[in-house]
Symmetry: C2
Subunit: 337 residues, 2 copies
C-alpha cells in the first residue's frame, strides 16, 4: 500500500472560497457572520475524482492524508471567532471527502490558530475533529502571525496544545500558511524557512522530554535540515545540545522534495524509519520537468529510484505512516486495508 501523507484540498469547490471572501469582507461586523453555501456530494466527488483521486491512482498511490489548503488557513487574521468558523467549515469539507472516499482519503485538521495565540478554540476544534470526526492528524502553524511575531513552539504558552495532541495520539504536521512579510515568498521561502526554524527550535529545547509521546512531522523534506545535517550535528556537539539524531524519536520528515538528488540525500541522511512518503500533489509545484517527463510532485518516481531496499520502501510508503498515525492505521484496518 502507498500512503501519501501530505495532501491539501487545493481543488475545493468555489463555494468554500466564497464563504472565506464573505468572512473577510465582514471582518469586525459581529452581526454579519456569513453562512457557508451548501455544497452537494456530487460537487465534492467531482472535485476529487477529476483531481487528487485521479492523479493518486495514475501514480500508483492508494491513500492520501487530506487537509484544507495550507496557504488558505490564513491564521494571521486576528479574530478568533472568524478563525474558528473558517477552520470548522474547512474541516467539515475534508471530513466529507473522507466519508465519500473513505478508502482513499483520511482527514487531517486545520486549527483555528490566531496571532494572539489563544488556545481554547484551537483545542476545542482539535478535539472535535479527532475525537468526534475521526481525523487522523492535525496541521500546526508555528507562525500564526505570518510575520513570526509569536513565540517558538517550544515556549510554554504552546504546552496546552501539545498536551492535547499527545493525549489524542495524533501527529502534528508543522505547516505555515501565507507569509505576511515581503521578504519571504510563501511557497519558495516561507514554507522551507519554517521547516528549518522549527527543527532548530526543537533541537535546543526539551519539548520531547516533557511530551515524550508527541510526534512531529516536518514537511517539504525538512526544509534545509537534511542537506545541512552535519551542520546540526556539529552545532550540537559544540554547544552541548542533544544530538539531532535524538530528535528522531519524535520527529519525521516527508518526501516533498521535487528532484531525484534531493530525495537521494534525504533517504541517505535520515533513517528511513523517519521518512514518510508524501507528495503535496496539486499543491505549490504543478506541471512536470521537460527534461525527464516526470511531474515535479510525483515524488514516488524519486523514492522508487532512491536505491532503497524493499523493506525500506515498505516503511516509507506504508508502515511508517501507520505507526506515526495510529488513527489512520485503525481506520484502514477497519476497512480491511
Amino acid at each position: 500500500m502507498i500512503i501519501d501523507t501530505h495532501g491539501h484540498y487545493t481543488t475545493a469547490p468555489e463555494e468554500l472560497q466564497a464563504f472565506r471572501d464573505a468572512q473577510l469582507a465582514t471582518l469586525g461586523q459581529a452581526s454579519a457572520t456569513p453562512t457557508p453555501a451548501a455544497i452537494s456530494d456530487d460537487r465534492i466527488r467531482e472535485s476529487i475524482e477529476l483531481n487528487q483521486l485521479k492523479v493518486l491512482r495514475e501514480r500508483g498511490g492508494d491513500v492520501m492524508l487530506f487537509s484544507p489548503k495550507a496557504s488558505g488557513m490564513e491564521h494571521h487574521v486576528l479574530d478568533p471567532a472568524v478563525a474558528a468558523a473558517w477552520a470548522r467549515v474547512s474541516n467539515d469539507l475534508v471530513h466529507r471527502v473522507g466519508e465519500l472516499f473513505s478508502e482513499h482519503f483520511a482527514p487531517v485538521a486545520q486549527l483555528p490558530q490566531t496571532p494572539g495565540g489563544e488556545l481554547d478554540g484551537v483545542i476545542a476544534e482539535l478535539r472535535r475533529t479527532v475525537s468526534e470526526l475521526g481525523f487522523v492528524g492535525v496541521n500546526v502553524n508555528p507562525d500564526p502571525s505570518g510575520t513570526w511575531a509569536g513565540k517558538p513552539l517550544t515556549d510554554e504558552s504552546w504546552f496546552p496544545l501539545w498536551e492535547a495532541i499527545e493525549e489524542l495520539d495524533v501527529p502534528a504536521m508543522i505547516h505555515v500558511s501565507t507569509a505576511c512579510n515581503p521578504n519571504f515568498h510563501t511557497l519558495g521561502a516561507h514554507y522551507l524557512n519554517a521547516d528549518t526554524s522549527v527543527f532548530m527550535q526543537l533541537l535546543v529545547s526539551d519539548l520531547f522530554v516533557r511530551f515524550p509521546r508527541l510526534r512531529v512531522v516536518i514537511p517539504h523534506g525538512g526544509g534545509a535540515v537534511p542537506y545541512h545535517w552535519g551542520r546540526y550535528r556539529g552545532l550540537s556537539m559544540r554547544y552541548g545540545w542533544q544530538e539531532p539524531a535524538e530528535l528522531l524519536r519524535n520527529v519525521y520528515f516527508d518526501t516533498c522534495v521535487y528532484q531525484q538528488a534531493g530525495t537521494d540525500l534525504l533517504t541517505s541522511v535520515i533513517p528511513t524509519e523517519n521518512v514518510l512518503f508524501a507528495s503535496e500533489m496539486l499543491g505549490a509545484v504543478r506541471g512536470g520537468d521537460p527534461e525527464t517527463g516526470i511531474a515535479w510532485d510525483d515524488t514516488k518516481q524519486y523514492v522508487d529510484r532512491a536505491g532503497l531496499s524493499a523493506a525500506a520502501l515498505t516503511a516509507v510508503y506504508e508502515t511508517n505512516a501507520r505507526r506515526v498515525y495510529p488513527a489512520l492505521d485503525r481506520r484502514l484496518t477497519a476497512r480491511g486495508l
Copy 2:
C-alpha cells in the same frame, strides 16, 4: 591553488570586542564616542598564526577571503554613526591582516548598514575599503534589522548600493548577522533562511537585468536552495518566472556544507562553475565528526571526495574565485601567485 572564499576574523584580539562593548555602553551619548585601543602587529600575527593560518595550512589551503565576524556585524543597532565607526574599525583590522599576511589573506568588507536602510555611509565605506584599501569583496546583510523589518534587497531602495558594487566590480556575499527574533536561531536557522529567502527574492525579480554585471555569492551552500532545486524549477515554470538556471549568470554558491552527502548534492545540482570553495572555518561549527575524524568545517575533505573531474576541482578551488573576485585575481597576480 586552494582559495577559501569564506572566512571571518572570529579570533580577533579582544580589544576589538572591548571597543564594541564601549560603543554599545554609550549608545545615544554623542559626546562619548569611544576610541579603539591600539592593537600591535604582533597581537594580530599571533591571532592569525595560531588559528586561521595554521588551520588553512594544515588543510592544504593557500588563500582565504577574510571579513569581520558575521554575527558581530550587528546591523540591528540603529545609530548610523555607531555603525560607521564599527565597520571602519573592523575593516581596518582585517585590512591589517591582509597586509601582514598578504599572500594568504585578502580582505572583504563589513558595511555599516542599519535598519533604517540609509545608504550614504554604507556606500562611503564600500568605496573606502575597495577603492582605497584594495578589499576584494563585500558582505551585504539582506536583513539589517535582524527581524526582517526591511524591504527585499531587490527593492529599488537598495539600487544605489547595487550600482556602486557593480561599478567597483566586487562580488557581494549575502550574509546576515545576529537574529533578533527568538524563532530563528542565528547559526541554525537565520543564516540558512536568509540564503533561501534571498535566492527566492532574486528569482522573482529583474535585478540582474538592471545590474547585469552584479555578482552575488550565497553562502552556506545556498541554504535550502540546491536541495530543493526541483521545487524552484517547478515554481518558475508554473508562475512564469525566469528559470533558476538563468540566475547562475550572476549567482554563486559556496561549499560551506558540513557533510559529504550535502556537498555531493551541491556539486551535482549546481554547475561547478558556480560553486566557490569555502569553509567558514573557525566559525559556527567547530570540532569534528567522531565517526569520520573529519573536522566539520574542513570542507576540502568533502569537495575532494565529491567525484569531480580535475578541471572541475580547479574551477571550484581556484579559477571560479579569481573570475568572480577580479580584485583578488589582480592581488594574487601582483604577488606572483
